[in-house]
Symmetry: none
Subunit: 300 residues, 2 copies
DNA sequence: TATGAGTGATGCCGAAACGGCATCACATCA
DNA sequence: TGATGTGATGCCGTTTCGGCATCACTCATA
């Protein structure tokens, strides 16, 4: 707030004990800071700082004034935050960290739908691996996390969860494309691309394969579904991803998702989570409701 | 205060429910008030007032902001008043470090007289040895120091000085009590208590004795005049202190001070000092004037 | 229904405040 | 003694502010 701008000048001088050092911190020239100080002292009628050869020191009057300005600065921050919360529906930034599998269809759709009704709400969305999603939520760098099969964590609060099966993704014109389901053993005939350990589906594959004699010899292992997508489009191969990564019905993307049908192949959960102690800003809370509704519609 | 000027604009608008009426009250044109309101709303990112055909009304966000600005305006009024009190001698703390010899009569009297006229001015007074007095002044832990014969020190500024002779202090009913002056050789007949090196008069005694064949065999050596006082009251002995330690004329304390009359016995200076670069708070500066006057009256 | 009054918003522009650059005066230190 | 660091100050271009005039809209009244 502009009306407290010069209070910030005085605060910086009090903290650094030097007009020049404070000016550096504030990214203005020292003469400007000096003049504001002198103007304020003239207005108050007394020196707020004693001038020493190597800087300045607060006078008793200065101590009183600095105590005041620190109360005022804290209070203005608080009221600004309160106003933002109140207005949260109409403006704000919702920060999301999500695994890559949601970047193509789910997240863009949710964001787009939400912004149709709340055009001033912005999204800051980071796509990263499972562990990084959790870390960002815990560090308050993301309001919301979308992650597949997170490890149990007392710092996380689950806001929504849905079951997700692994699917084989192939080009539309692939010989497996019309199947209602497919077995892993059928897929190994083709060039394979598999997710690395940072992607959620890999753990499900590993758990299954550890109990089978079947061995996968992937042509590609990657943390990028985009890479794997282009790989199979080019090679007529197969990659694996949770069903959430599939395009919504009616949309064509050149790829089809076929559920893997294997006894003993576990499914996992896609989780929408937040930091446990967190009170979400209003906009983020509304986004949660929208996402819940969308996720629930996917299981019915 | 200028920095809260626009808060006063908003306050007036909220109170009157009209930009034009507020402008009248503030003695500015309504366009100026209107623009400050609009600028603030742009800065905050939301309307503080709903615009009605016949004026304005606070929004919920505006209610929050007005609650804030009223707290801020009350607080700035209060701190201004506190600063005025401080500068107007209506409040403040004067910090003094002094040698023990002044604790009995001089300091209590000066403090008492000063507080009769300035009851809200408090004193924080530390009684300590000569070196500690100087250290406290230099460390800005004391505004003023009262010390006997300090070593020359570039960091100290002398505000007042008076000559002080050594006196022999004896009980009122002592055989030396009626004398106008006394020699050291007369005192050695009685039990002697002498100051230790932390007290100012000791250096004068030592300097004198180093050029004489007379040897003192003190029964007591101490850094506490109170102890020495009670010692001589109990034993009918003699102790030595600068004349400042004597009760003012007309006051009876059970002891009398008799000036030591010895050729070659130097006198010393009692010094009122401050840290050289220090600008004293107003209250302390006034105390200096009072002390000067009192000290000067003691030499005339 | 037309008109006058009251309201907040806006264009234009001169006045006031501000910050940047350069320099000064002083104290400190090696 | 010269270099360095500090707050203060002159000059001036830039930004912000307030005053004057006007606009757009609503409401009340004749």
């Amino acid at each position: 707030m502009q009306h407290v701008r010069y209070l910030r000048y005085v605060d910086a001088v009090a903290r650094t004990g030097s007009i020049r050092k404070a000016a550096e911190r504030l990214n203005v020239v020292s003469s400007a800071v000096n003049r504001r100080i002198l103007d304020l002292e003239a207005e108050i009628g007394t020196a707020l700082f004693e001038r020493l050869p190597r800087g300045v020191r607060l006078t008793p009057a200065g101590e009183l004034f600095v105590a005041y300005l620190r109360r005022a600065l804290a209070d203005v921050d608080r009221v600004q935050s309160e106003i933002e919360d109140l207005e949260g529906l109409r403006r704000g930034v919702v920060r999301i960290a999500a695994i890559e599998g949601l970047a193509t269809h789910f997240l863009p759709a949710v964001i787009h739908d939400f912004q149709r009704e709340h055009p001033k709400v912005a999204f800051s969305t980071v796509i990263c691996g499972r562990d990084e999603v959790v870390a960002r939520v815990k560090r308050f760098e993301a309001d919301l996390g979308l992650v597949f099969n997170p490890a149990p964590d007392a710092d996380l609060r689950y806001l929504a969860e849905i079951e997700q099966r692994l699917c084989a993704f192939v080009p539309e014109d692939h010989s497996l494309a019309g199947r209602r389901s497919v077995r892993l053993s059928e897929c190994v005939e083709y060039p394979l691309a598999v997710p690395d350990r940072s992607l959620g589906g890999r753990a499900l594959l590993d758990a299954f394969l550890s109990k089978r004699s079947l061995r996968l010899e992937p042509s590609l292992e990657s943390n990028s579904y985009e890479l794997m997508r282009h790989f199979v489009m080019r090679t007529g191969g197969v990659y694996f991803q949770i069903s959430m990564g599939a395009p919504p019905p009616g949309e064509r993307s050149g790829l089809v998702a076929i559920p893997l049908e294997e006894r003993g192949l576990a499914s996992g959960k896609l989780v929408l989570c937040a930091e446990r102690s967190r009170t979400l800003p209003v906009a983020a809370a509304m986004v949660v409701e929208d996402m819940r509704a969308t996720l629930e519609s996917l299981v019915s």
